[in-house]
């Protein structure tokens, strides 16, 4: 009666349904906010990763699993800089299979998976749209790779997994890192941040300044033989902070920290990674148009320093 359809499409469809079935037991609905739905992914038996921006509270969190099963959970670590958070569950859950990102290419078929508050898993289909090197979030978090899928990210899919066609996790989806688009935090970054959070938190360097990027006038660049077209100016100094102890004042323009040239605010944030904590070194500045060098010791930033 009908012309037959080659079965390539049916086998792809079966593979996709099987991929969703494989990951579904490891995808949970996270009830931690009255306003926002979110999903989470089981990293190990009692640890669930989700996105930080959907958590309105640290305790009394309920997870909804396959078949409307429930488990209580509490926050054990949060990293707003990468928008990741870890939850500890009261009951053991099914651990999500993970993918290797090395073989991933633009154009590969990917699925976003989430769970709604009725306990039903949903999925959407797309392709890898952009894939690039490491980047820094607007809050200064380091993400190993830029991974942007081209698919519909429905309400409640934040915190859920991006999976490949075998059902293995490529990363965690979030609306929290860009206003314009949903992005995927690669699984390698998730594993690194999770290890840091489980090991007692993410260490970040602290200088105790507010900054803005400024253009260097051509006359100043010529006078001091500077290659950079911009630098950062200190617009506020925290009382008793490392910058104040080093003698930095408002209006100083930072050109370099140690060996690193500082051309914008992001450069300075990168120079204040966890490895910088406790380190002392020379900071090259311009004060009232004249170059100076000061010795600065980087502190560790506590949560209150934001």
């Amino acid at each position: 009666m009908n012309a037959s359809i080659p079965n390539a499409l049916s086998s792809l469809s079966n593979d996709l349904a099987a991929a969703v079935e494989r990951i579904a037991p490891s995808v949970v609905y996270v009830d931690a906010s009255r306003r926002r739905d979110a999903s989470g992914v089981v990293l190990d038996e009692r640890t669930v990763v989700t996105v930080d921006h959907v958590l309105d509270r640290d305790e009394d969190i309920e997870l909804i699993l396959t078949g409307d099963a429930r488990s209580s959970a509490e926050v054990i670590g949060r990293d707003p800089t990468t928008d990741l958070a870890l939850l500890r569950t009261s009951s053991p859950l099914s651990v999500a299979p993970r993918a290797k990102l090395e073989a991933l290419k633009v154009g590969h078929i990917v699925l976003a998976v989430g769970r709604d508050e009725d306990g039903a898993a949903g999925a959407s289909l797309g392709v890898v749209s952009a894939l690039d090197g490491s980047w820094q979030t607007w809050r200064g978090g380091e993400i190993d790779r830029l991974l942007r899928p081209d698919l519909s990210m429905y309400p409640g899919f934040s915190g859920g997994p991006l999976i490949d066609t075998t059902g293995s996790v490529l990363g965690i989806n979030t609306w929290g890192l860009s206003r314009r688009t949903a992005l995927t935090i690669p699984i390698s970054t998730v594993e690194r941040v999770a290890a840091q959070l489980l090991g007692g938190g993410i260490r970040r360097g602290y200088l105790g300044v507010a900054l803005q990027t400024v253009r260097l006038p051509d006359s100043v660049r010529a006078q001091h033989a500077l290659d950079a077209e911009s630098a950062v100016m200190i617009v506020d100094v925290a009382v008793g902070g490392p910058a104040q102890r080093a003698g930095l004042v408002m209006g100083d323009v930072i050109l370099a920290l140690g060996e690193r040239a500082i051309e914008d605010v992001e450069d300075l944030q990168r120079a204040l990674g966890g490895e910088a904590v406790g380190r002392s070194g020379p900071m090259r500045i311009l004060r009232a148009g004249a170059p100076r060098e000061l010795e600065v010791t980087i502190d560790e930033r506590s949560r209150d320093d934001d």
């Binding site: 049916s10 969703v20 898993a121």
Partner: protein, 186 residues
């Protein structure tokens, strides 16, 4: 592999389009979609076929007058039959029970969105309950009453509404119940 998939997509689109029609009101205005169902019946949405009559337009441009022989606004379903003994002469769809669907299966919507005749959009099955088949497929006005099909071209639902960017279709099982409730008046 790519050629296989392309070929399969083209064959699927061709098969489902062959069983999809345009449905206008009795004056030939407005436009939704309809499905040539087994048993010489065109199935569409109740909100597409509001009156006692409708005009069915086939892909080869024939416009045929049809009677609305059954209508259930609570399920948003209507059944049409061509009047005056004229033959529709179109291949009916193959129907699959929506109850068998698995989340993540490929879904294809065919219809006449925004005046585009026989447009195809694709996505994944989100979930299926007794009331709705929900799919990650982009619909537009004009898709109403058209088929939602699986990767083998079998129809699993009648596209009815768009909510939160998702396609909601009346399950094929509900269509069977709607048509089977009593003999369709001819």
């Amino acid at each position: 592999m790519t050629t296989d998939l392309d070929g399969a997509l083209a064959a699927l689109a061709e098969r489902v389009r062959a069983s999809t029609v345009c449905v206008h009101d009795a004056r030939g205005r407005g436009s939704g979609s309809g499905i040539v169902w087994p048993g010489d019946v065109v199935v569409t949405n109740a909100h597409v076929a509001r009156g006692a009559h409708a005009v069915v337009e086939t892909r080869d441009g024939r416009r045929l007058r049809a009677a609305v022989v059954r209508r259930d606004p609570s399920r948003d379903l209507a059944a049409l039959r061509i009047e005056g003994g004229a033959a529709l002469d179109l291949t009916p769809v193959t129907v699959r029970s929506a109850a068998e669907l698995r989340t993540g299966e490929l879904m294809f919507a065919v219809g006449n969105p925004l005046g585009l005749v026989g447009a195809v959009s694709a996505g994944l099955l989100q979930r299926c309950n007794g009331r709705w088949v929900v799919a990650d497929v982009t619909l537009a006005p004009g898709n109403s009453g058209g088929p939602l099909a699986d990767a083998a071209g079998r129809v699993v639902g009648v596209n009815s509404l768009i909510a939160r960017g998702l396609a909601f279709a009346v399950p094929s099982d509900a269509v069977a119940a709607f048509l089977g409730r009593a003999a369709v008046r001819a």
